[in-house]
Assembly symmetry: C2
Homo-oligomer: 204 residues x 2
């Protein structure tokens, strides 16, 4: 039951944000009573915390797989973009705003994931790219890794990219491609162009 | 007298931030009494407001000159980097933090300058670059202009780039060069490399 509650809560939070989803809504969707939910969780914040913990864990595993399965840092970073697309296609722009404003513990967990695992993954990607001659050797890995981490949150910022003017995926894709291109060597560009052409071909 | 007060206040604010500089300090440095300052300004916030208004006006003129004097968008954007270096070499990391936290009207003025003139200058630079075949035609100018505006503030962020680990100029330069490279076409790279080689040569 606990797993079903978490899965349904995640689906509703992602679709509508956290504030507008009530314990009643979650119970109703599952065809159970609120009492059943309270047997497993104290409040909505506790559910949210668990949802974020599970979700970041799964994202991290998926990212680790990508690193093992891809053959170079450019393919890896474009793979992450696909992952982000899958994750943000259905996400409400309220989700991160709600968490940031009203659920400090859950936000701290998200922040910790961002500063820890995401930061580390990006830094490793950059260092690998430099050592393979795909990224320029005169870039500063820590400054650019920090830039990339901040870009992820930037794309969620409603004031900067209002959702009636921008799709979140377009913003993420634009920032990600620009980020990669800004690091590429000539050799890197050859590899990058292959993936981009191949991808455009698959989409058409 | 008003001009002398503004010039001295600007120098002290830039060097130490706003909070730690008193009316007494400004008067003392000029060898005048506090009373003389109060004949021209009601309080420190009014001085700060005027300082920012003058400074952004001068920066804008300098930027406009650069656009007329340079022969292409890459030279222009690297010229802006030099301008930023001159401006941030002596700047206290407290300056923007103080203004953001304690002087809302002055911060609103800075914000207005950023959202208005800086945003417009960057957008024009990008559009010119695309039309000259120096920047890629498949980039989204408004998304990238927004990214660049946010990067300027990012480099001032003490939490992200602590001043005991990073020089503000290095961060600005890293972000700016990465920003330009992420937009360049092959033709653009040829022009960019010329300027970078020339600059490195001059520095040595």
């Amino acid at each position: 039951m606990k797993e079903r509650i978490l899965a349904e809560a995640e689906r509703l939070f992602w679709k509508y944000g956290v504030r507008s989803v009530t314990m009643e809504d979650i119970a109703h969707q599952l065809g159970i009573s609120k009492k059943t939910i309270y047997q497993h969780f104290n409040d909505k914040e506790q559910i949210l915390y668990q949802v974020i913990q599970d979700k970041t864990g799964r994202d991290q595993s998926e990212m680790d797989c990508m690193v093992t399965e891809t053959s170079n840092p450019v393919e890896e970073i474009l793979g992450v973009l696909n992952m982000i697309r899958k994750n943000t296609d259905q996400v409400s722009p309220n989700l991160l705003i709600d968490i940031k404003r009203y659920y400090p513990q859950a936000f701290a967990l998200f922040r910790q994931y961002k500063e820890g695992q995401i930061m580390r993954s990006i830094l490793e990607n950059i260092q690998k790219g430099i050592s393979q001659g795909i990224y320029r050797s005169d870039i500063n890995p820590t400054i650019l890794a920090r830039l990339r981490v901040e870009q992820i949150e930037l794309a969620f910022n409603h004031d900067l990219f209002p959702s009636d003017q921008y799709s979140m995926h377009d913003v993420q894709a634009e920032l990600m491609h620009h980020f990669v291109r800004g690091m590429l060597t000539e050799k890197g560009f050859t590899i990058y162009n292959q993936y981009v052409n191949q991808y455009n071909h698959e989409v058409k």
